[in-house]
Symmetry: C2
Subunit: 250 residues, 2 copies
């Protein structure tokens, strides 16, 4: 009897070790502690540093950034700058304007945008349509005020180094909490949007409220527009394009 117990325990512990090793292997492959800190806001609060934003979406982020930094921007260009929600839009087609350059990268945050901003503003593009911040809230567990501080730094750098550029601050879109697997709330997003509106006033840039156009009756992202509660389908992109069209062609 004792022998059976011992054998079972041995087997069970081996299985435990196997599962744990597999878990560690997966985490290491995705970027180690830095990856964990992004997924588990508690770790970040305990002081685990987030070394590299890109780790969250490695290697896609690095591959795409290495492509984008090789593609020149002209002073006549209209840059769409942001995260996956910008990345996934075929903007030049949606708005029938080949001057539009997609500079969205999935998983990006205000910190990532700050990092790659020199590439974007070096040649002083005509316009920048900016939508960023939801991953700061959701993946990095930052507060709306913290995010708006990085956002302000982005605007400050654009104003200083590319004063002719017309910046359009697009509100962060709502999520659908029942579908979205990330960890932020629409009240966080609304708080961030209020900050963005103040920043737009402060810098005399145009604030575009998209948020309210994508809401259902419960003030969540309408399921007409999404499967996963954050990313958008074609109906949403057509609606978005229509809403910003006057600003793109003005």
């Amino acid at each position: 009897m004792k022998l059976i117990l011992q054998a079972s325990l041995w087997l069970s512990v081996c299985l435990n070790a196997l599962f744990i090793s597999f878990g560690i292997w997966i985490i290491l492959k995705r970027g180690g502690l830095s990856y964990l800190a992004m997924r588990v806001p508690l770790l970040k609060k305990l002081g685990v540093p987030i070394v590299q934003i890109a780790a969250f979406n490695f290697p896609y982020y690095d591959h795409r950034q290495s492509q984008l930094e090789r593609l020149p921007i002209q002073s006549s260009d209209i840059v769409f700058l942001g995260d996956s929600i910008t990345d996934e839009g075929e903007w030049a087609e949606l708005l029938k304007n080949p001057a539009i350059k997609n500079r969205g990268i999935s998983s990006d945050t205000t910190i990532g945008v700050l990092d790659r901003l020199p590439d974007i503003i070096n040649s002083q593009p005509q316009k920048i349509f900016l939508m960023i911040g939801v991953n700061d809230l959701s993946n990095l567990g930052r507060s709306p005020v913290e995010v708006s501080q990085s956002y302000k730094e982005i605007l400050t750098q654009i104003r200083a180094r590319s004063p002719q550029t017309n910046v359009f601050i697009q509100s962060v879109l709502p999520i659908h909490p029942g579908l979205f697997i990330g960890s932020t709330t629409n009240s966080n997003i609304r708080a961030l949007n209020e900050q963005l509106q103040s920043l737009a006033d402060e810098f005399s840039y145009t604030y575009i409220d998209l948020h309210s156009h994508f809401l259902d009756a419960h003030h969540q992202l309408d399921t007409t527009y999404t499967i996963d509660g954050i990313h958008l389908n074609g109906i949403a992109y057509q609606r978005w394009a229509k809403l910003i069209e006057p600003h793109v062609f003005s």
Copy 2:
């Protein structure tokens, strides 16, 4: 002593149950059996049906397809059709040609392309640059011959319904087996490329050998071009664009 043994066993078994439940939860969230069948070719061979190709990359695939089906293609357009490797290229910018329309969708296969082909050829585009098949091999566990049969069906439909369209059959690129986590081999890819070359002859379409331009000394995808052994960085996209440029502008 026996009590300690029993307690340890109980604890260890509970932990295992927890790990297994977590694993099952992840798999269910990603599409259940159908997802597993795509990841584990053995299951497919045992007869587990793959219900929906898109499930492998759900919801991205559905979101993107719903956007692409709303974007018109003109008869003067040059369509880039394929999977993630096409999807991730900013082709209109890389080749400085706004007539280029990106119709790549991450995770797509010859079966997915067949499914959405009517949207693509309806308006009889000027040219189609096709690169597809590696996900058939890797995610669906299909053989090179099986893939080439679906590929032939794609070409047959284009020839029949859009006879003016000039089709460029781009070879499937190599992978780096040490980095790539999928389950195919370069010898499978080479076998598929031989089939594609024959198909190009059969249909009098142009076959473009890209494969050989991205190899290292061991006949694998050169690490100059990739982090994960299958997807590409900016250096690769610039090289690719240069190689097909004469065909794009001819």
